[in-house]
């Protein structure tokens, strides 16, 4: 999953970005409102963590402009204001959630997960594809009750495919959602990781879940 974090306080911004990266999110970080809007328009994120008080453009304005342009990217507002009025204003403008600073880290993580989930139309923290079960909170994977060990990257890839299960996902999509703007990965790496994933998820099991659609991309679904 790829996130945009826009927060003008340098230490807080870096802590949030570092913490999210340690949770295997690809994170683009900015301290400025104009840059945040630009990045949100140019890249596709699974969620945006948006501080309200940003220099040059505040969070309200950015959110308004994104929504008016038709963006459905989930947005989690961070704010130092605690009033109900601001909460209502934010939610009515199109924010998906709202966190008041200072917040507990675990709560930020949970809300980011929830907002990403909802952005993909999922309700539960557990995703099932056939007999494959993915627990997005504990970051565990089982197939037919057998636990499967995945690396961080592999899990992120599987999670992304699962969030979009049944839909064909192009290599570019995958690459854009797994790597942030500073990563030097090439699109080959996607094929490589799909290979690793197939090895662990599909190889020893009767039914295949990861399918290639030639020329289009990959899809995670039960056969048939």
């Amino acid at each position: 999953m790829r996130l945009l974090v826009a927060e003008d306080h340098p230490t807080l911004a870096r802590s949030i970005a570092d913490g999210l990266r340690e949770e295997n999110y690809a994170v683009d970080l900015t301290f400025d409102g104009d840059e945040a809007l630009h990045l949100a328009q140019v890249n596709r994120y699974d969620a945006i963590v948006l501080d309200i008080m940003l220099p040059n453009k505040d969070g309200w304005t950015i959110l308004g402009m994104l929504r008016r342009a038709g963006s459905t990217t989930p947005v989690l507002f961070l704010t130092a204001k605690e009033g109900v009025v601001d909460r209502v204003k934010g939610l009515d403008l199109g924010a998906d959630d709202y966190l008041v600073k200072p917040f507990v880290w675990e709560e930020l993580l949970a809300r980011v997960r929830a907002v990403v989930r909802r952005g993909h139309g999922l309700r539960s923290t557990a995703i099932r594809v056939g007999d494959l079960e993915i627990d997005t909170v504990r970051k565990t994977v089982r197939r037919s009750e057998t636990p499967i060990e995945l690396s961080a990257r592999e899990f992120s890839l599987l999670e992304y495919l699962a969030h979009r299960q049944g839909q064909v996902v192009s290599r570019t999509d995958i690459w854009e959602h797994l790597y942030d703007q500073h990563d030097e990965a090439t699109s080959n790496v996607v094929d490589v990781y799909i290979g690793y994933l197939r090895n662990k998820i599909d190889k020893n099991f009767p039914t295949k879940l990861i399918h290639t659609r030639r020329g289009l991309g990959y899809v995670l679904e039960t056969e048939g």
Binding site: D8, G19, E22, M53, P55, A80, E82
Partner: protein, 444 residues
């Protein structure tokens, strides 16, 4: 108070009614009695004079001679007789009837005196007086009660606005400071007091609003640095790391904690500068020397940007005021002038006496402030560039402090600015403000 008024009126009216009633009764009785006695005398005399018309059923008489023997009829004429009233009394006869009797001794010329006692039933008289007494008593009682009731009602009506006012005052707490006493409803004598109370409420309301605003701003300002500290440490503690990473986390946390400390100190300064109770004693201040000193400090601050400090104030300027506050104001204005200046720009410091005070101006060649913001820059935490750049330690509190200090010493602060050209901050410092003020009693 209503009850006391009512009681006093009740007792007074009753006393008056009792006195009046008793007087009326006694007078009436005396008049009626003398009337009756006179009529008895006339009847007695006419009897003696030969008029034997039968006395009324309720009248009787007895005529006696000198020896005390009853005579049926007088033998002498009563004309030109000497008449002396011996007595006039009430008495109860043997058959139980109460009568009024008048006894006369009539001594005819050249004749023997006779006494005649003429009596009439007192029944009617007694009944009449009884009724009179009752009527007066009843009148007195009712009159007294009526007067008292009316007094109570009148005083309640008059005091009702006071009670309403007391109720209104009773409901005023910090959430209801917008309520005011309706002066028009009160008796005119209470208007000045009510107006002063309303003024006081207005001042309290303003003070509370300012405090609430400040608390909101301060809490807002504190939240992000606290979040930075907290998130930094939480994320840091989530997994095992190598010592270098830990060191970096600790250093970032330390920097943030220091910045918080600085913020808290500035907030406390702001609170202190707003409080009227923070009073120093006004002193005679050598203003020129103070301006010199502050200009030196500004020079140091602006050294690495090559900012020139131009001293355009006269020497020998003095004023009596709170020295620390004035110094605080000057340092704030000068450091702003240096901070928001262009490289190789200048800051001009002017000062001159005017009437019973001083004008001091600080003019910079900085970026200037746009007209939309000119009113807002004195608000706590306001920063015209919208940036919360914590690294330079500026929190937007400097001008708010300047305003608070100038208020405390009875002065004023204004600003003129042109975008791209620079700004001029001008303060007016009155001489010996304290001496002109009405002293305010401090609560203990």
């Amino acid at each position: 108070m209503t009850r006391r008024i009512a009681l006093v009126i009740l007792i007074t009216v009753w006393a008056m009614l009792i006195v009046g009633g008793v007087g009326a009764y006694v007078t009436t009785r005396a008049v009626l009695l003398s009337d009756m006695d006179e009529s008895l005398r006339i009847r007695a005399m006419s009897l003696l004079g030969g008029d034997m018309s039968a006395p009324g059923r309720d009248e009787r008489y007895v005529i006696r001679n000198e020896a005390g023997i009853t005579q049926l009829r007088p033998t002498t004429s009563a004309a030109r007789a000497e008449i002396k009233t011996l007595q006039a009394t009430f008495s109860t006869l043997a058959d139980g009837v109460r009568v009024r009797s008048v006894t006369l001794r009539v001594t005819p010329v050249g004749g023997a005196p006779v006494t005649i006692t003429y009596s009439r039933d007192a029944y009617k008289f007694d009944r009449l007086l009884e009724r009179l007494a009752l009527a007066l008593a009843l009148l007195g009682l009712l009159g007294g009660l009526g007067a008292a009731a009316m007094a109570m009602r009148l005083s309640r009506i008059t005091l009702a606005p006071l009670r309403e006012t007391a109720d209104v005052i009773g409901t005023i707490d910090e959430r209801q400071l917008s309520r005011r006493i309706e002066v028009a409803k009160l008796p005119v004598e209470l208007a000045p007091m009510a107006e002063r109370l309303n003024d006081m409420l207005a001042r309290l309301q303003a003070a509370f609003a300012q405090r609430k605003q400040f608390l909101g701003d301060a809490s807002h300002e504190l939240r992000t640095p606290v979040a930075a500290l907290l998130t930094n440490l939480e994320v840091g503690a989530r997994r095992d790391r190598d010592p270098n990473e830990y060191r970096e986390i600790l250093e970032r946390s330390l920097a943030e904690a220091r910045s918080l400390k600085h913020l808290v100190e500035r907030l406390m300064e702001q609170v202190r500068s707003e409080q009227m109770s923070h009073q120093e004693k006004p002193l005679l201040v050598d203003v020129s020397a103070l301006l010199d000193e502050c200009s030196d400090i500004a020079g140091v601050l602006g050294a690495n940007q090559d900012i020139r400090i131009v001293r355009s104030f006269a020497y020998g300027l003095t004023i009596t005021t709170q020295a620390e506050r004035l110094k605080n104001v000057l340092i704030n204005l000068l450091s702003n002038a240096v901070q928001y200046n262009k490289p190789r720009g200048s800051v001009e410091v002017l000062g001159e006496r005017n009437g019973n005070g001083l004008y001091i101006s600080v003019r910079d060649t900085g970026q200037g402030i746009s007209p939309d913001h000119l009113n807002d820059i004195f608000q706590p935490f306001y920063r015209a560039d919208g940036v919360r750049n914590r690294s330079d330690g500026h929190l937007g509190l400097g001008l708010a402090q300047v305003k608070a200090h100038m208020n405390a010493i009875g002065g004023k602060c204004e600003v003129e600015s042109r975008l791209g050209w620079g700004s001029t901050f001008r303060i007016w410092v009155p001489d010996d403000y304290e001496a002109q003020k009405v002293p305010i009693k401090e609560p203990n």
